[in-house]
Symmetry: C2
């Protein structure tokens, strides 16, 4: 795990699920101050206790109600289920203003989980950008990885992370956060490309079902490691 | 190169470009009968002569005008530039009726070649399906590979092929054709997933520009080779 030069206060909205806990586990170890957010502060606190038991070397980790977590953070990360995406962001719009918002949500609509189905905005990231307004910078990342694997420090997550969204500078900050989880990130371009990043999850779920595996992934090839 | 048990007559619409020639070169060697199609039969014939000079062991290869190539084939492959996609298919609609149509076209719209921009149907494949009607089975494949590399038998194309489209049976036939080019194909699901397969090309072009390489690609991970 390479340490980013900059450390941030990262607020994870809906951070008590496997996505939020997996990311928090790795970011705390990389030296970031992480706040797990939840609709109920007590639930966030329980997730923090659970994670602290795993973090042998400690680290900066707190639990708060979602809006407090966002108010206190530099960078917000959204890890709610898809059905809660719009209402959650509408409720937090004011406090998210001006921040980088890392959207991790995938538009999986049961029962057709292997078929790409995007919201009318074009993608979840574009929906978030519409709700939050131009003052926010929404960046997609971590849509295609297996979160359970993040919770084991020794586990190799055999999947790269595609990062796309509004503002190249914001994408670069998020690429640093990806590196801090121990994964390889790639700049996948503007927010219009979010349909590819989010839709790939349906393709991978289809491959998981066909091949009876739990965590198919993607790697980018043809670019040497050195540069 | 593994040989498919079945051999087909494959008609390549607009087959005189690098895509068509690269695919023809490998399919002829796998034992298929390939017909290069072009708007002008003489142009198709010139591409055939060029390929025959490279095919040391010969093989079944002909050149014809596009509609004749389609009429004579079992499986049609569309490799025209994006701007010619709709008019070409509208012109060949009758003769394509009932066939598997492998669509290789990517919706790259200059100057924004790194931004995903889909036709109103949702993707090029869905546009083709709309034009050709339900009796055709349109399948996307080969959107993300470097065609120049197909022309050298010894060159390793470090990129998997995502195959999606109408009908699982048609996708399976196309996965066989992918294997016959020496590449690894994956069933990426229904035609609604074409936006991911086609859009990935814009992401890879962006990575090529950023990293000053010619042929970034993708590999699927987490699925063992044995099965």
């Amino acid at each position: 795990m390479t340490e980013n030069k900059e450390t941030y206060t990262i607020g994870i909205i809906g951070g008590t699920g496997k996505e939020g806990k997996g990311l928090a586990y790795r970011w705390v170890q990389a030296g970031h101050h992480v706040i797990i957010g939840s609709r109920q502060a007590e639930k966030a606190q329980r997730a923090v206790e659970e994670l602290k038991a795993l973090l042998e070397e400690g680290g900066e980790l707190e639990g708060m109600e979602n809006s407090e977590a966002v108010a206190a953070c530099d960078i917000a990360v959204v890890t709610v289920p898809y059905a809660a995406h719009r209402p959650t962001l509408e409720g937090l719009k004011g406090v998210l203003d001006g921040k980088i918002v890392v959207d991790v949500v995938v538009p999986i609509v049961p029962p057709k989980v292997t078929k790409v189905q995007m919201p009318s905005a074009g993608s979840v990231a574009q929906e978030a950008q519409e709700i939050l307004g131009e003052n926010c910078r929404v960046v997609d990342a971590f849509q295609n990885i297996s979160y359970e694997r993040l919770m084991n420090q020794d586990e190799d997550v055999d999947c790269d992370v595609l990062v796309c969204g509004k503002s190249k500078a914001a994408r670069e900050v998020v690429l640093g956060l990806v590196a801090d989880t121990g994964l390889k990130g790639w700049d996948a371009g503007p927010i219009e490309n979010a349909v590819v990043v989010e839709g790939m999850t349906s393709v991978l779920i289809g491959l998981n079902i066909q091949h009876k595996v739990k965590a198919s992934g993607i790697r980018i090839t043809g670019i040497s490691e050195q540069e």
